[in-house]
Each structure stands twice: as structure tokens, then as C-alpha cells.
Symmetry: C2
DNA sequence: CCCTCTAGGTCAGACCATGTCCTAGATGTG
DNA sequence: CACATCTAGGACATGGTCTGACCTAGAGGG
């Protein structure tokens, strides 16, 4: 069995890595099979398993006639050993999610993406971008979309404490070049913001990520300053209020509050019940009204828009378009 | 700095794991700092780095006054070392994606999710489900959604070659219990299917995953049979044609084909240009018409639905609802 | 020019990792 | 019930290796 062609370097740590990867396959591995694949004796396998357990990765062993080893959930997160397809799948998934900015995991998600893309082999890299190109049209609809690359470059610069240089096109159209000490990425609703210290202007600024072009880390290290307002999200909120980038809307649904709440994204807040069995939702959004209109339509309940006027207008236009689509001029082919 | 509490077991493989995790942070690590954190001499760090390089993980070193080590993209995918938040972010992202079934990465994505959830510490597990609960209402809208747990259980059973038992509620409402040898998960458009060998019926079957309840692996191992039709996707296609679960729709847009194509998901195919500058899209979908209607509305171009009648009706209803929402009865508060 | 960093050689000694023996216990099958 | 199959783990001799201390060389930045 243990043939002569076992020319493995017999390096212990390497074997442990390999073992860890084998055990992550969701199946049971008998000790004998592991021994064979790793090119060591059964005893050594058992010792290696012990080793992994000591490292905090709980390997569960089932005894009996077709038992075996498998890695189960433990206290710490073991290093994930992914094959090519899985790595691509995760990268694509995270990039798709990066556009959405799911509250609560937004920044961690970008960090994970940055970590993954840092080590993603080149041959997989264009598979990811190809797939992503074929996928994103699903979700994006309005302009102002954010390139995942931009987010990962920023996340890396934040983690690596490197200065970040980029071109910025402000709301009024003026283009500037910025040299910053990036502090934190924050997402609100659908949009990403970078909170950073602007070196040239010697003050803190927030930047809309979709208005950033060609960001790159300069390589120069810096010691993170303290933000005047403790929390980056808080700072962003204040900064947005100053500039009034958000608008408030109010919608009345002809459905009970709890039914509507079920389908509402959490960050919009909860609707308040009304006396007649309906409910009203008042919230602020930073998105385009188009997007909000579609969102509301997707909820599947009759509703009435109260404000703002832009949203009313947008909903009216969308309704008109759909009605026309249904009635259809009899163009044939 | 290097306190006395460096009571690490000084185990070589453990240190390598730790080193790998440190190097995955997107920043530069000077050898001295690594030596300090790992509790070994600088020389040993250099040896460990060499070791990682031999294992196929390219560690890039920049010389000079503030150089250091960092892990870069190589030929193989190194084990990903994630912190808690990143792991949660990936899990949430993949689960959200699992509903979507992005063509090309669908199955790998579920496999990755199964792998991750297999080892996800318990304390993170409910953070994931909480976040997911707060997130999915965004995308799901129509019924028949698939629980990510179901998919991961299935993926694990397939990989582990374990028999799978579940309750199935057929299209006509009849409920049965099935014992299967799961073969492959396939996604089409928005829906997931399990191709499996039904042990009791002694034949191959396809199951809609959203109609599966309480799936669990029995633990009994089996040797995978060969599918009569080589490809699982092919088998599913034939099986769906027999049952006619899809419908064909046809829509005319008043916008150039290339403009519309930009925002269309790839799996719907390309619209064909018409003489008048518009274009027509004919495609088949397995989704509900509601979802398709919203999809079409989101494209942002005027259009006309030609068939099927259900879609016309649905678009009309949606349009009416939106129109009413804009005109609004003057209910106030 | 200096400083800081990586790169790599050599050497002695401690240490550990391995395979080959054991025995014990759990589990499912004939 | 005995049997096969698996995990669990102790003992031990031996060869290999891993470490730190010491060295030199080279690259980059200020």
C-alpha cells in the first residue's frame, strides 16, 4: 500500500494544512483513508487530529464500523480551504452584495472581499469579473453604482493604514484630486461613503464612493487620527444632515403594520399602525426616488404616497408606463 | 511589549497557521513585528515565510526602510482566515445569493456556504440568521422561496454521499415522504432543483427545492449511480419540458436593443432589434409573473407586453396600484 | 551617509515527530 | 453473541528538524 512513490516532502505543517482541507469536505473520513492520502501511518493521523483539536478546531470522530473524522463547528473559525469554484462563488456573491450595502455586515463584507481578492489567483480573477459583469445588471438600475474594486482598494488602505489618493467629482460637477488618510467605510441604505481625513484641506471629509475615481494606496503609512465625533457612522450622519442629501418620505399602506414590516428592509424602520387597519411608514432615504418607487411596488400591498412630490411623480410615471405596457398598442410581428 | 505572558505552546504548525492569518491582513508586516507577535526570533520568522512560499503561498517582501511581508495572489488559493465579522458577512452574502441562483456559480456558491456553515461557531450562527432575516425581505417578494438551510443540507448530503430524507409537497398539493440518493443541485433562473435517485420509486426524479420540507441526511452512505442522461442540467431541462413548468413571454421595448440588453440578466438572452428602433425580447421564465413584471418595470424603458395573458394582467394590476398610489385618496394624519 | 529592512549561510543542541508495538472502548452486522 | 471496524491513546527508540545566535550581503529611503 504505502508505495515507494510517496515522495512528499513529509513536512508536518504542510500535512496539517492538507488534513484541514480534507476535513472541511462535508463527509466522514476514516482514519485509514486519511493515512493513505497523507502518506503517513494511521497513528500519525490520529496525532495530527489531536493537534488540530488543540489548535481549537474541533474534529468530531464517530466510532463504529463506518465512522470517521469530520470538522464541526467550534469556538474559533478555522481557516477556510476553498477550491477554485467556491472562491469564485464567494467573490461574485460578495461583489454583488457590495452594491447592496446590507446594513450590519456592509463593512465586514467589503473587508472579507478585500482579503479574498488579495490572494485570489490571477486565473480566477477574470472569471470573477466576467461572471460579475453578467450578473450585476440584475440589481443595479439607477446610475451611481459603485465598483467593487473601489471598495476593496479603500478597505485595504484602511486596514493597512496607507494614504489613499483619488479623483473626486463633487455634486456640483467640479473635479478635484484628493490625498486622504482613510478612516472608515460606511454604507447607508444603498450608498457607500468614505470617511477620511483630507490631508490637503487638513480636515475630516466624507466622500461618496460612487463619485470616486481611480483610487489607489500611495504606500505611505500613517498613524490613524481620532475622529472628532467618536463614531464614523455618527459623523457621516451629521455630515449628511448638513448637506441634506437625504429626503423624507411618507407612505400609507392598506395593510396591517406587521404584514408590511415583514417585507421591509430593517433600516427603513417600522411602520406605525393606523386606526383603520392600515399603517404609515415615514422614513428617510438617500436613494433615488425611482428605486424607492419600485421597492414600494414590490411589497405587494396597495398604498398611497403622501410625500415627497418627486416620489409621487415618479410613482405616477411608473404606473402610467405599466398601464400602457398592459394595454399595449397592437404592434405585431 | 513582549510581556511574560507569551505562554504560547510554541508549536511550529500552530505558528504557521497564525502567520498565515496575519499575512492575510491587507497590510505590510515587518519581520520584527511578526517575530514579536509569534514569540520567536526574527530568523525563525524568515524561515516560516520560506516555508509558506514552499507550500505555494507567495509571500511578497518589500525591502527598504518600511518594507515588510504580505501575502499576494499566487497559483493556489490559500486557506482563508476570517475573523468573526467577515465570516458572518460571507455567510449572509451567500445566503442572500442562494435565493437568487446566479447562473454559473450557483452550485459552487451553495457548496461554499455548506462548507462555511459546517464550521461556523455557534455564537456566529444566530447572528447570521438574524441578519439574514432582516435582509431577505429586500429581495424575496413572491412565495416559494428557498431556505438556505435546505440547500446546504442537500449540498452536504451530495458531497458526503449520504442518503437524504425529506417531505415533499407536489404541485397538486399531495404530500409525500421521500428517501433519495441526492445527485446534484441545479438552479435555473430563480429556482432550485434537486436531481436525485428516489430509492422507494427506484427511479430518477427532480424535486423543486422550495417544495421540500425538513430535509436531513440519514447518515447511510451510498455509491453514486450514473445518471441516464449524462448531465444533471440536461436531465432537469428534459424533465421540466415534460411537465411544462416554464412559460414563454414576449415584450416589446421602445428602446434600442443594446440599451435594453445592458440591464438585462444574461440568462434571459438578448433582445432582437426591431425596425422602428425598438426591440423585442422573447424568453422563457420559470418565475412568477409578478416578479417578472417588477423586473421589467425596473428596466426604466417604456415597453409593451405581448404575452402571456397572465403577465399582461399582472402588469395592468401593478400599474393600477401605482397610479392609485400616486393619486392617493386624501387620507391624512 | 545612515538606518531599516529582507535574504541567507552556518552551527550546536534541544526537541519533536514518526512508526511499530501495544490495549481499551464504542458501534453496527451477521 | 462474536466479529469486524473504527477511534483512543500509552510506550519507546531513533532520526530528523527546528530554533536561536551569530554572521554577511543587498536593497531602498531620507
Amino acid at each position: 500500500m504505502c508505495g515507494i512513490l510517496v515522495s512528499m516532502t513529509t513536512d508536518t505543517p504542510a500535512r496539517l494544512f492538507q488534513l484541514l482541507s480534507l476535513l472541511q469536505t462535508p463527509r466522514e473520513w476514516p482514519g485509514g483513508e486519511l493515512a493513505e492520502r497523507l502518506g503517513v501511518s494511521r497513528r500519525t493521523v490520529r496525532r495530527d487530529v489531536d493537534r488540530l483539536r488543540e489548535l481549537g478546531y474541533p474534529v468530531q470522530a464517530t466510532k463504529g464500523s463506518d465512522g470517521g473524522y469530520r470538522l464541526v463547528a467550534g469556538k474559533a473559525m478555522p481557516p477556510l480551504v476553498l477550491d477554485d469554484e467556491e472562491a469564485v462563488a464567494i467573490a461574485v456573491g460578495l461583489r454583488a452584495g457590495a452594491g447592496h450595502a446590507i446594513e450590519g455586515v456592509d463593512e465586514a463584507s467589503v473587508r472579507a472581499l478585500a482579503k479574498l481578492e488579495q490572494v485570489l489567483p490571477a486565473r480566477l480573477r477574470h472569471r470573477v469579473s466576467t461572471l460579475q459583469a453578467a450578473t450585476t445588471p440584475l440589481t443595479s438600475g439607477d446610475g451611481a453604482s459603485v465598483a467593487p474594486e473601489t471598495l476593496t482598494v479603500m478597505a485595504s488602505a484602511i486596514a493597512g493604514r496607507e494614504r489613499l489618493r483619488f479623483a473626486y467629482r463633487a455634486g456640483d460637477g467640479t473635479a478635484t484630486r484628493r490625498l486622504t488618510e482613510p478612516y472608515r467605510l460606511v454604507s447607508t441604505g444603498r450608498r457607500w461613503y468614505l470617511v477620511a481625513y483630507d490631508v490637503d484641506r487638513a480636515d475630516w471629509r466624507t466622500f461618496r464612493v460612487d463619485r470616486v475615481n481611480e483610487p489607489f494606496a500611495t504606500g505611505a503609512r500613517f498613524d490613524p487620527r481620532e475622529l472628532p465625533t467618536g463614531n464614523a457612522a455618527e459623523y457621516l450622519r451629521q455630515s449628511m444632515q448638513r448637506r441634506q442629501e437625504t429626503y423624507t418620505f411618507s407612505v400609507v399602506f392598506e395593510a396591517p403594520a406587521e404584514v408590511v414590516a415583514e417585507r421591509l428592509p430593517a433600516w427603513l424602520g417600522a411602520p406605525e399602525p393606523l386606526a383603520d387597519g392600515g399603517c404609515r411608514l415615514r422614513a428617510t432615504a438617500g436613494d433615488t426616488v425611482e428605486w424607492l418607487a419600485v421597492r414600494l411596488a414590490m411589497l405587494g400591498h396597495p398604498f398611497t404616497v403622501q410625500e415627497p412630490a418627486e416620489l409621487v411623480e415618479c410613482v405616477r410615471a411608473l404606473g402610467a408606463r405599466l398601464t400602457r405596457a398592459a394595454d399595449g398598442d397592437p404592434r405585431r410581428a
